[in-house]
């Protein structure tokens, strides 16, 4: 006995434009409905929960600045992931490149001293952080572009090495990155000129401008330059690219290096912003991994990363604050975040495929 219908997924040639807006919005609504059922079943008011989440993240000035503060680094890691993904290169080690960016930026901030003005120092620290992130992906990029070795494995494994490195430079007595005056493992502060002040009494730093400008500039590069065109050709058809005389090897290498640099920049932004030193707790926060989800949410569209990073940050910030403004346990907040992300990603199937129910005719 079989069911006389079959569900088929037919790939759409070109996803209709209206769907690229409709589907994500529909996904969020579906997720909220799903969450509401769950909330009702566990005895919480969905309306209260959602309005509190909203006021904690987007509907109050404190919520907005907290959300943007988190988005500052997540835009970087999101762009880092998306920039590589759009060429079918899967750098999932943004987390590790972020650590190295943090270490590199801290080094520059400490060692380049007090003599340089902020205007020189801050860009310099950011540049060194970005370079450090690029350096961390150099070997995976090289073996990928030369030998075709899976970058998924190599970039991921290097993340663990990076985490150990962060711990090493903080927990080793006498380490350059550690404050020498105390037996407690505290990072050494960077020079005052390498540190920015937040806006007013918020936790938001001017570094948000850097993140947004980088994302928009890179989106422009991809859309409007020859380099961006090369990336697209390689992504669509490596063979055609080869025929057209485009060096896939060189482009892969450069795309991965830029991707690593962007994640490294994320770490550097933390140094000139809220940290001012290496905070070993960075290895528990998962900013780099979050970048992968953010890239997926934005469907690797670099400009859309800004929006998806802000949305993701709002969910995280609002979810955390749920505990404060309501009696909702933290697990509910985390569950809602997961549901919204899952639905948003799942909705992608509807955009890319036409779903048909086909009669198979004979029921036996």
């Amino acid at each position: 006995m079989g069911i006389p219908v079959r569900i088929t997924f037919e790939q759409r040639g070109d996803a209709p434009r209206r769907l690229s807006l409709l589907v994500p919005m529909g996904s969020v609504v579906a997720a909220l409905v799903f969450g509401a059922v769950f909330l009702l079943a566990t005895g919480y008011s969905p309306l209260d929960t959602y309005s509190n989440m909203l006021s904690g993240s987007f509907a109050t000035s404190r919520g907005v600045t907290d959300t943007l503060a988190l988005a500052t680094v997540l835009i970087c890691t999101g762009v880092a992931a998306a920039f590589a993904f759009q060429m079918n290169v899967y750098n999932i080690g943004g987390e590790g490149q972020l650590y190295l960016g943090l270490i590199g930026a801290a080094w520059a901030g400490i060692s380049l001293g007090e003599h340089l003005p902020s205007l020189v120092m801050v860009p310099l620290v950011l540049a060194v952080g970005a370079l450090s992130g690029a350096a961390w992906i150099f070997v995976p990029a090289w073996v990928r572009s030369r030998l075709g070795t899976s970058e998924i494995v190599s970039t991921l494994l290097l993340t663990y090495v990076g985490a150990s490195l962060v711990e090493y430079v903080i927990y080793t007595p006498g380490s350059y990155f550690r404050n020498p005056n105390t037996p407690f493992p505290q990072g050494r502060l960077v020079a005052a000129s390498a540190k920015l002040d937040p806006f007013g009494d918020s936790r938001l730093y001017p570094t948000i401008i850097v993140s947004v400008v980088v994302a928009v500039a890179l989106a422009w590069v991809v859309r409007r330059t020859e380099y961006g065109y090369r990336i697209k050709v390689i992504a669509d058809s490596p063979k055609a690219a080869q025929y057209a005389g485009i060096s896939a090897r060189r482009t892969t290498m450069s795309v991965m290096l830029v991707s690593g640099a962007l994640a490294g920049l994320g770490g550097a932004l933390l140094v000139v912003g809220p940290y001012g030193k290496i905070e070993p707790s960075i290895v528990n926060l998962g900013y780099g991994y979050a970048g992968i989800v953010i890239a997926a949410l934005a469907r690797n569209n670099l400009a859309a990363i800004v929006v998806s990073a802000v949305l993701f940050s709002g969910l995280r910030v609002g979810g955390e604050k749920l505990q404060i403004t309501t009696d909702t346990p933290i697990h509910i907040g985390v569950m809602l975040q997961g549901a919204i992300l899952l639905f948003a990603l799942g909705g992608e199937a509807f955009r890319r495929y036409r779903i048909r129910i086909v009669r198979t005719g004979v029921a036996t």
Binding site: Y44, L70, Y171, P183, F184, D201, E320, K321, I324
Partner: protein
Amino acid sequence: MRKAHKRVLALAAVAAMGLAACGGDSASTEDTTAPEETAVEETGADYGNLKVAVVYIGVPDDKGWTYQHEQGILQLESELGIEVKRVENVPEGDEAEATMEALAAEGYNLMFATSFGYGTPMARVAAKHPEGCFQWATGAKFLLTSEMGGEFATFDDIPANLGTYFGAAEEARYLSGIAAGKASASGKIGYVAAFPIPEVIRGINAFTLGAQSVNPDATVQVSWTKTWFDPTVEKEAAESLLDAGVDVLAQHQDTTAAGLAADARGAKWVGYNSDVSEAAPNAWLTAPTWNWGPFYVQTAKAVAGGTCPNEEYYGSMADGMVTLGSFGSSVDADTQALIAEKQAAIIDGSFAPFDGPVSDQDGKEVVAAGSRPELLDLLGMSYFVKGVIGSPQG
């Protein structure tokens, strides 16, 4: 979130009988997850101006560090008849500041933060909210000065509404070491430890000295997990120590994972934080435990009375903040008597765990015979004593 209203009432009854320093036993069995109406008892208008919040690094059900703080918070709730806001699973670092800021904005005027990594965020929020009172567990204020890598120019710039609280766990560590030393036939003991910071190093050393006081050749092998709370990692570290041949495990972790691993291999276990012998009754020897309740109660009362205690409170076995848990069935009467005798000596001050002579790993004398180190030296301890296997640098 309120765990169980009944539990609060039970504790209130205990408190009413004058047993202020109650432990966690009476409350450890229930686990009600359904939310309930929270009817706050109006026991007095005195505390109407008090809004208390606690920021937890983990969850109150961890049967360890956070669980033990939860017992103290429950005692505070029942004695003062107020409700405390818990915020759970807050990661250390920058994002914790958003959480604490939001609490302060909601009008919470007494905040407890139960982890070392909350120091900078809490100090920042304290500076912005002089009307509130902020208490940082396991902290030390001098670490907030720029000289130490913090962000306040001098000690005097640290907000005056910030206090710290902690205690001499090393006293109970030493006593639990005696139980471990007696229990170890091979003289090889393992220690699952979180981070190579002075607090943990001090505990390992005190434990080792206690074990060696009854088992002079005992060694303590350390395995670092670089996490406070991760049952999987803690279990793996415990198993690698058991594979290396240790027959007793101790821990500086928040869960009972090491105890379960020891139990599975027939080894013995010294826990930490909570008296949770039921987790692994056969392996259980004892555990250094905390009793935070009296501190929470006295601090809340002071704040309600208009003062924010901003000293660096360092409790001990003498004042009851540090305690030793119950003994497992394998700890014989002689050992218990010996531990009781040492405990009495610690409480009356005639003995302290680091009384000289003490040598470091290389055999170099670090505390001379007949002398007792200053508290500040203990707080900054960064060496391992002789007999510890492993590196104090992680």
